[in-house]
Symmetry: C2
Subunit: 292 residues, 2 copies
DNA sequence: GTTCCGCATGAATCGATAG
DNA sequence: ACTATCGATTCATGCGGAA
């Protein structure tokens, strides 16, 4: 099946109106964070943030499939020595709008921005807020099982003889554990804390988040040929990752430079995937919404 | 100077009234979390949580020194498939009461409770909310510097001679870096994510948090002979750690069994510290507030 | 072919300075 | 007095060039 990646230029609040009800399986996005400065791109004032966001999330609520999920990456800044509260207020407002606040994941950034202040340490985490339309949503937990890290491997290597014996006797005695737990001993279910680096090696464009972030949630909440939406596409990380993972995707951005850049990249990217056989076919990016 | 550890039995809302204004340097506590079930200890319903907490925090605001800090360890549970919002509402209410919400630390629990649910991963983090009375509060950052990892050590060992020379010339020329930053090069400042295990190796009673948690904040926000307060003492972890670190402390709990247990332990603990010389003096726990 | 090192850089924050 | 901009701070990561 052909994977479609539809990129739109415009205000999400408006563009989303062209998308069918219940058609999207995962919304993953990182909106512009509130900012005191007015001149920057998307600089919404903290006091007006919920007011600005709600008309968009109203559309998101409409286009999301009832078994789908909405993941919002955001973190409030410290202003004048205090954390802004606009994210807290946004969560409360989204619940009033009809969203279920299912979970809050923590993205623990391994390499955070440097800095030293008299009253504050470096901020090395961000929120990943999970919202749903209904309590029964799709979640493919096995897809994101993590290989046990070096730490675990090291521990296993250094197991004392008594430890090893004890483990063996435990297994041998048939007590307790389900055997499948032991068979898959190299994999473990993750927790709600993600420990990823802020990838800083991309020269061309700076992504707001590393590819592994949307990748994780796309694995967890969608299967192949599902539809992923990012209403604040930016440099298009979500869409590229979706395409790589055989998911259809929709990306929207209000800035022409982002729109043009992503559109160009997506076409290049198609070449890479299908090259050289279908090079002459140059799959035209379709302007209508992808429907399965 | 003698370290005092004062333990009180009663409702914090009332007991705190006996404590002088501006007399406490650090409040570290983990209050009973809200709970749907009504029978459990301290089971406050989520809807009434802020209402229940505010009269207590009003007293906390009064007794806290303006350069002191209030650290609140809390995490909302998932109820009926959704995260409760009472913690968010509490933060907003505390700000209205006059507190500054300075920071939100994340305690990333290294070994969280195992479990598997169809729609949720293990919850392996908790909030540590930092509140202050004023923007200028005491913070002893150097006390909590962490050793740099093995990776960094390896790199430093392999520093080239030119690197070393360059550093010297930089410092010598008076440009840039503070020398102390280079002297302590094996230590790095931490971030606002704490990665501690949930070690509960105390045999008799299970503490809500490991000793390393209050220890970290006591190091960061107090110096010796300061006064630490825990208005929901529980098994008294905060107080034991404070005593061990030469800080005076006050502990309050509404349940006699906790009060009695901690009182007994504190006396035993005193023996250990002063044994055997002052055994016969058996320092009587004073019922008035410790004042420096 | 390895291993080693230099360097750029990332949703930061505060306090000082400028308009 | 108030707001907007700028400089200084300084950690983890991985790539690419060097040894």
């Amino acid at each position: 099946m052909e994977i479609k990646t539809d990129i739109y230029l415009g205000d999400s609040k408006e563009v989303l109106k062209d998308i069918l009800d219940n058609s999207v399986d995962l919304i993953f996005t990182s909106p512009p964070y509130a900012d005191q400065r007015k001149k920057t791109y998307g600089g919404i004032h903290p006091d007006q943030y919920a007011e600005w966001f709600l008309p968009i999330s109203e559309q998101l609520l409409r286009v999301l499939n009832p078994s789908g999920t909405f993941v919002l990456n955001i973190k409030e800044k410290a202003v004048n020595g205090e954390r802004s509260t606009y994210v807290l207020e946004l969560i409360l407002a989204l619940r009033k709008q009809g969203w279920l606040w299912t979970e809050e994941f923590v993205w623990h950034k391994k390499n955070s921005y440097p800095g030293k202040w008299p009253n504050r340490f470096r901020d090395s985490w961000e929120r990943l807020l999970q919202f749903n339309k209904s309590k029964s949503f799709n979640m493919y937990q096995e897809e994101v099982m993590v290989p046990m890290g070096d730490w675990a491997k090291k521990r296993l290597l250094n197991l004392s003889d008594t430890d090893k014996k004890r483990d063996v006797s435990k297994v041998g005695s048939g007590f307790g554990k389900n055997i499948s737990n032991w068979e898959n001993r190299d994999k473990a279910y993750p927790t709600n804390v993600l420990h990823l680096a802020t990838e800083c090696n991309n020269k061309n464009h700076s992504a707001a988040f590393p590819e592994s972030l949307p990748e994780w949630f796309i694995k967890l909440f969608t299967k192949e040929n599902d539809i992923v939406l990012d209403p604040f596409m930016g440099s298009g990380t979500t869409n590229f990752v979706a395409k790589k993972m055989n998911r259809n995707s929709i990306g929207i951005d209000i800035l022409p430079e982002y729109y043009n850049m992503v559109k160009e990249k997506i076409e290049e990217f198609s070449y890479v995937l299908f090259e050289p056989k279908v090079k002459y076919e140059k799959t035209k990016i379709r302007r209508r919404v992808a429907i399965r």
